[in-house]
Amino acid sequence: MAEEIKVDGTVDITDVVCPVTFVKAKVALEELDDGQVLAIHMNDGEPAQNVPRSMKDEGHQILKLKDNGDGTYDLFVRKAEEQS
């Protein structure tokens, strides 16, 4: 994916552990409007393995999981409409 993804907000979840990783990312996503994109900065390992799926299961759209090459990843997520 050559083109840059336009990001509307960022959150760093490298300072917390599961399950707070997901909670912190979710709270950050709450701040955005539907359709906006959040970049979630996370550690390799459990967060990179599990947070993408948790976001998918919440109905949000995963765009990219970028390997930063330094033991961290950035997950780009487009916020879905509120599901009633």
């Binding site: 393995q49 799926r53 999981l65």
Partner: protein, 287 residues
């Protein structure tokens, strides 16, 4: 009063207690599922005839302790009204255990409860040289410990990548716990020898770019009592239910034919040789 036929009582799930004249009544439960109606009947029997409590067994069953011999018929009748019957003990096919499966669990690859129900309908209580336990677990997480059973079933999926749907996001590569997925020039490569069929790639994929085909791993001769031994996998991943049941039939027939009375499946396999079973199992697969 007529002499008590303990063997018949045991067969019918009445387990003799230390206390003279009392039995712990084992109930017939499949895959750990008990309806509210059944629970109400169990509560009624435990309060009226037992000591007001139940015991949850290690294999997802319910026992009602302290049932007096004289109350057996009344207890059976009360349970029948609630749609629950006594279970079994002794040398026969025992309670079939299962995890909740993919009807409920997001990780499960198969409908474990449905498989357990079918196994139970087909085999529960069948007379054999010794006890025989079936267990069904939905995925590699193995919540139900498939390999502890005489015949254990573990669900899996065979995945295939659908290139045109893929958005090259990189999630699957990371979700894979066995390092089986790599990306080269925008194409996904799956190393089949590394893949453990857990399905995490497919379940985490945001673009549904994986097709999945359900299937079963089968383990034979596990036991976890006086001797502890893990069931062995002698047949490749089975992809349809008909074959699975033919394999189960073949295993039970083999056990029935070759086991000595009171000999668990593992020891029959040790004595007769796993290859002899493998031959029968592969015949069932090729059928």
């Amino acid at each position: 009063m007529a002499a008590i036929d303990y063997a018949t009582l045991k067969k019918g799930g009445f387990m003799r207690q230390k206390q003279k004249g009392y039995f712990s009544l084992r109930l017939g439960v499949v895959g750990g599922q008990v309806t509210a109606e059944q629970l109400a009947a169990v509560t009624d029997v435990a309060s009226t005839y037992g000591h007001g409590y139940i015991h949850l067994t290690s294999r997802q069953g319910i026992e009602i302790p302290f049932i007096n011999i004289k109350d057996i018929d009344a207890v059976k009748e009360a349970l029948a009204k609630g749609g629950i019957a006594p279970g079994v003990c002794g040398p026969r096919v025992r309670t079939v255990t299962a995890c909740q499966g993919n009807e409920v669990c997001p990780n499960a690859c198969i409908d474990s409860e449905a498989i357990a129900k079918e196994l139970s309908d087909r085999y529960f209580g069948r007379e054999l040289p010794h006890k025989f336990k079936f267990g069904v677990t939905g995925c590699q997480n193995n919540c139900l410990k498939a390999e502890e059973n005489d015949l254990g079933i573990k669900g899996g999926v065979e995945v295939s990548w659908v290139e045109e749907k893929c958005i090259s996001c990189g999630v699957c590569e990371k979700a894979c716990r066995t390092g089986a997925i790599s990306t080269q020039d925008g194409k996904i490569r799956i190393e089949r020898e590394r893949c453990n069929n857990c399905g995490r790639c497919a379940y985490s994929c945001p673009a549904d770019a994986y097709d999945t085909e359900e299937g079963y791993f089968v383990y034979f001769g596990g036991l976890f009592g006086n001797t502890i031994s893990q069931g062995t996998e002698i047949v490749p991943f089975i992809k349809d239910k008909e074959t699975l049941f033919r394999v189960c039939d073949a295993a039970l027939n083999f056990f029935n034919e070759y086991a000595k009375p009171g000999e668990r499946f593992k020891f029959t396999l040790d004595r007769v040789g796993v290859d002899a079973l493998k031959e029968k199992i592969m015949e069932a697969v090729a059928y």
